[in-house]
């Protein structure tokens, strides 16, 4: 389904959070050029049940 609300581009970049740690910002842009971003929030703790921080099995270098 292609329309003006469809995603045209996803772009990630590294940012530094308020604790001084690196994290990720992702930009999403639609076909008609509307764009915004989201930042991954940081926490001091990571529970065992929580999600793993970055993909380790993707084979990306």
């Amino acid at each position: 389904m292609i329309n003006r609300f469809s995603i045209e581009k996803v772009k990630g970049l590294e940012i530094i959070d308020s604790r001084g740690n690196p994290t990720i910002r992702v930009f999403v842009r639609t076909n008609d050029g509307v764009e915004s971003f989201g930042d991954a929030p940081a926490g001091a703790s990571k529970g065992q049940e929580r999600q793993s921080k970055s993909g380790m099995k993707m084979g990306l270098r």
Binding site: F5, G12, V28
Partner: protein, 165 residues
């Protein structure tokens, strides 16, 4: 974090291209499905949450709506009750408390303002109490703004909070 950035640029970019993201839940669900692991170890939690937030904000922007209105949909949005994190333990503080966040809930107030001021009053009184009883140095705050006291036992602390009422 380089890996998370690469995943967003080379994988999520391609798999989400031309996908409609009018509903944020669908796009997040889509990423979770693509990842297919229990704990999101392939794409990574950071990459997924950042993309999800970005998709949500972009979708609201495309429709000309504030994010909260977009989330609420046709429902009338209600202002939430402010919860205050008044004492920090666990990994949010350097003390021995096992519980990480002691949170108070100002319920049964008619307005946000009343609830918020009541919660602040408790927080301030607690500060005075800790300062008086243990010394001003123990009113230092932890990661989430709660006091990081020297108390070791959750039990002691609970009586302090109640006393403070």
């Amino acid at each position: 974090m380089k890996r998370a950035v690469d995943i967003a640029n080379y994988i999520i970019d391609i798999v989400t291209r031309n996908r409609c993201k009018r509903t944020r839940y669908k796009s997040t669900k889509y990423l979770i499905d693509i990842d297919s692991t229990e704990n999101k170890s392939k794409l990574g939690g950071n990459t997924i949450i950042a993309t999800s937030i970005a998709a949500l904000k972009t979708a609201s922007k495309a429709l000309g709506l504030e994010v909260f209105k977009y989330i609420a949909g046709p429902r009338l949005p209600k202002i939430p009750i402010p919860l205050l994190n008044i004492i920090n333990g666990g990994l949010h503080a350097g003390n021995k408390l096992k519980i990480q966040e002691f949170i108070i809930l100002p319920i049964k107030f008619n307005t946000f303002k009343e609830a918020f001021f009541a919660a602040i009053e408790v927080y301030r009184n607690l500060k005075g109490l800790i300062s008086e009883r243990y010394g001003k140095i123990y009113t230092a705050v932890g990661d989430e703004g709660g006091f990081s006291t020297t108390l070791e036992e959750t039990r002691e602390l609970r009586s302090d909070i109640y006393f403070n009422k």
